[in-house]
């Protein structure tokens, strides 16, 4: 009788754990299948905090300053600011005023690193809503 009770208690727990693992596995496969694959000489798509995007060719040399979600002229280190540098086919977050500066730590993005970075073709600053995407030849 006691074994039956233990078994009855264990069954829903095991079923739930199985469901959790299955759900995560399916969601991961779904995300991986839908992810974009960048290839070609390269361009970067920059998304500002206000939702507007611009595309910059990878062979350009540019510094893009974003403050409070909008493009700005010069970095001041005030407000919600990100400074993106694009040089020699590589883009990186040079400076950001977000708390942990996780986007700055995400390193450099180019055709060589896109396959080895944890976030693939993306540099993301979640607190400021800013992202850089390597879009290969623009497809």
């Amino acid at each position: 009788m006691e074994c039956e009770t233990t078994e009855n208690r264990r069954k829903p727990n095991l079923l739930l754990m199985g469901a959790a693992v299955l759900f995560v596995a399916l969601a991961v496969v779904f995300c991986l299948l839908l992810q974009s694959r960048a290839s070609g000489a390269g361009a970067f798509r920059i998304r500002f905090g206000d939702g507007q995007t611009i595309t910059v060719r990878a062979d350009e040399t540019r510094v893009i300053v974003i403050r409070d979600g909008k493009p700005a002229e010069e970095p001041t280190g005030e407000g919600e600011e990100n400074v993106i540098r694009i040089e020699n086919g590589t883009a990186w977050m040079e400076h950001a005023t977000c708390k942990n500066r996780e986007c700055v730590k995400q390193g450099r993005l180019n055709a060589d690193t896109v396959g080895t970075r944890p976030l693939g073709p993306w540099i993301i600053c979640a607190p400021h809503g800013v992202s850089i995407e390597y879009i290969g030849d623009g497809s």
Binding site: V24, A27, Q106, G107, A126, P127, S131
Partner: protein, 168 residues
Amino acid sequence: MKVRTLTKMALLSAAALILGYIDSLIPLVPGVPGIKLGLSNLALLYAVFFLSPFYTVLLMLIKVGMSSLLFGNAVGALYSLAGGVLSVAIMLLLRRNRAISVIPVSTFGGIFHILGQIAVGAVLLGVRPMLAYAPWLLISGLATGILLGVCARGVFYGLERYERSKRA
């Protein structure tokens, strides 16, 4: 609110804040922001199992509000709130079945916390970056949920033994 409950809430809020701060100092996966152990959810798990749903939701709101005021910002609060609401909802729902133990409750709490954050990220950043981000977050939510569940089981067992020894 009884003095006993008030004291418990104050202690749990303080524990959640301290654990949340410690959590923010431990980077789990370099290059992937936002992946944390979720240590402060231990306090929420305690509330789910030993306090009423009202106090659990109140503790979650205190945790989100205070940690955003002290260590975060408004956008961070939005991510935490979405994650907190979904995780507390699923944990309370699962807890209604008394046969379900702390490990599955914690696991689902971890996964739903991540799902809430992914939803906010999809709104603020767009769906496509979240597709790259989500696999890391979901796997970490599952792993940390299981880990915290195991820790919580140990803590609850210890508390139960302490209560029993006090009564004896």
